[in-house]
Symmetry: C2
Subunit: 383 residues, 2 copies
Amino acid sequence: MKVLVIGGDGYCGWATALYLSNRGYDVGILDSLVRRHWDNELCLDTLTPIAPIQQRLKRWKDLTGKTIDLFIGDITNYEFLDKTLNQFEPQAVVHFGEQRSAPFSMIDREHAVLTQVNNVVGTLNLLYIIKERFPDCHLVKLGTMGEYGTPNIDIEEGYITIEHNGRKDTLPYPKQPGSMYHLSKVHDSHNIHFACKIWGLRATDLNQGIVYGVLTEETGMDDLLINRLDYDGIFGTALNRFCIQAAVGHPLTVYGTGGQTRGLLDIRDTVRCVELAIATPANPGEFRVFNQFTEMFSVGDLATMVQNAGSALGIKVEVQNTDNPRIEKEEHYFNAKNTNLLDLGLQPHFLSDSLLDSLLNFTMKYKHRVDESQILPKVTWKR
Amino acid sequence: MKVLVIGGDGYCGWATALYLSNRGYDVGILDSLVRRHWDNELCLDTLTPIAPIQQRLKRWKDLTGKTIDLFIGDITNYEFLDKTLNQFEPQAVVHFGEQRSAPFSMIDREHAVLTQVNNVVGTLNLLYIIKERFPDCHLVKLGTMGEYGTPNIDIEEGYITIEHNGRKDTLPYPKQPGSMYHLSKVHDSHNIHFACKIWGLRATDLNQGIVYGVLTEETGMDDLLINRLDYDGIFGTALNRFCIQAAVGHPLTVYGTGGQTRGLLDIRDTVRCVELAIATPANPGEFRVFNQFTEMFSVGDLATMVQNAGSALGIKVEVQNTDNPRIEKEEHYFNAKNTNLLDLGLQPHFLSDSLLDSLLNFTMKYKHRVDESQILPKVTWKR
């Protein structure tokens, strides 16, 4: 099966492209490489030295004999996207190709507008081309658990059945996104849902939690295949960020009380979830929503776990509750469903001491690359 | 009070600007005039001969002694919008300045992208300038009842209290918009809600139904103040369109079975609702939602009413159920709440024989201007 991975040079995209290639899918990568450009603009760098995408793909070919086609360009450029899809003829498109950082989107108006226009227009272009030329192609789109916010009721997978004044309907789950970035994902969800309903397209929205870990079977094969690992205040996410902070002896930056609870998953489950979605496509006209996480933790719990894992390795780790740069509830109810992917056969890699141990050892190896001035958050949500 | 009406050259915007000016508000109009440009592009024209905005405003000054400031430019141009707001210093902004036609947004990909980018970016720019410079300014934003779609439960005003698995929360009402245009309004609602929550802005979202009628006290004062009245397949809306069809002896174009039920209101209530919203602003941090309609009718009912009103005037009116160019439910439950504006004192102009009689007579006066080739819908929702 031919699968185009948009954003295949990124953290989740790269791991997914290699995994699918390894599993026998005929994979293409479409990427504008703008994320590397943003790193340059903001003077950030991944902990790990990542090779240029062309070298990565050559190495993959040399190691495995498998070819991954590369299309460098921007999906907000309709002509480029149209040409690429017509050339590659995908049966499934996995769409990671969006600006994915909440703090990036909150830097200022320009970054908010960039994020929303980039994400919404790229996805609209994709929907129109799929409609026009590949109506049977399955769109697997990365959403986020952050679309739901933190409601005081259980979070279902995309839809909720509501009884109201003696009547009943199943409606899209109400969304309360917490940043200009998360809003862009909510906009995407509404647009894709509409396209499925009106044009009979097939789509799966993967509302992903916070991804942690760096090694997959494929990215661990060779140094040239190494994946990116972000620790900075813009692109770094909880747990990965904490491990790197622990490695360099920086206090773990828990925002506010740390009572924020989120869904998380191992990057080895990200790639598996995407494959499960591809292998059992949504039906024509179906906008299918999966909550893609395996466990729920509070940020404070994650910090404590890293602290304990550090102790076991003889590293003294301090936890520091810093002023929360975001505006969000720090103590709240959070109970999200995630049975759809389990029903398709997902066998989760639960967060374990051995994973934390391995991730800490991995980050120790590269800690000389850390720019400590990039650790603390500089972007705030406040007026 | 200083009120800036964005989109003040349009159908609802023009009537609102004059009404507020007449009621003693210090009014400014900001408009890019792009709607007149779109009419040119699509070779459409309003039934009524509308004067250039500059002549309209001069006539208003001559008649009433009241000055309305005019700012011609595009709110997606941040520098222009920033300069204008700093010069005018509004205490309230009424935002009609969006692409407002569902069929226009469904012409093709370009028009979908234009609609969503134009509407979302314009509103984002406005939110950022209000946050930076006028945090106390009240944003009164035109939404649409079409954001809700046609759920099988009662439609509340913006929020719904949901009991689920033994817990309870009040959440944004789920949205099921039916076109790329309606989607853009849903995106706006989420963006504005977030801005209120994070930055403490005040906003009122007026989810307006289908507006009918053309005369208000102010626009009826003089031929140079006449309002636009659209009858074409792109910008014409039910009831207004039917009256013009009746006037020229064209069968009334009921899409599908005509069982589609919608909220409607007289344009004299539109202007009053906006004033009610301005006069009692939302609180800081509040994203207030009003459903702005006064009555619910099915499209078929509206056609029958126009047919009967025509008979009374001796005009034979035929009703034709045409293929529905849209994809929408044609028979469905629809029961929407609209008590918020009534509670603020709205005294509705219910749809009456005398209004239909007056509207039919008005359209008869200008029927020589009708281009019959523009009556039927040419844009379809289908793949």
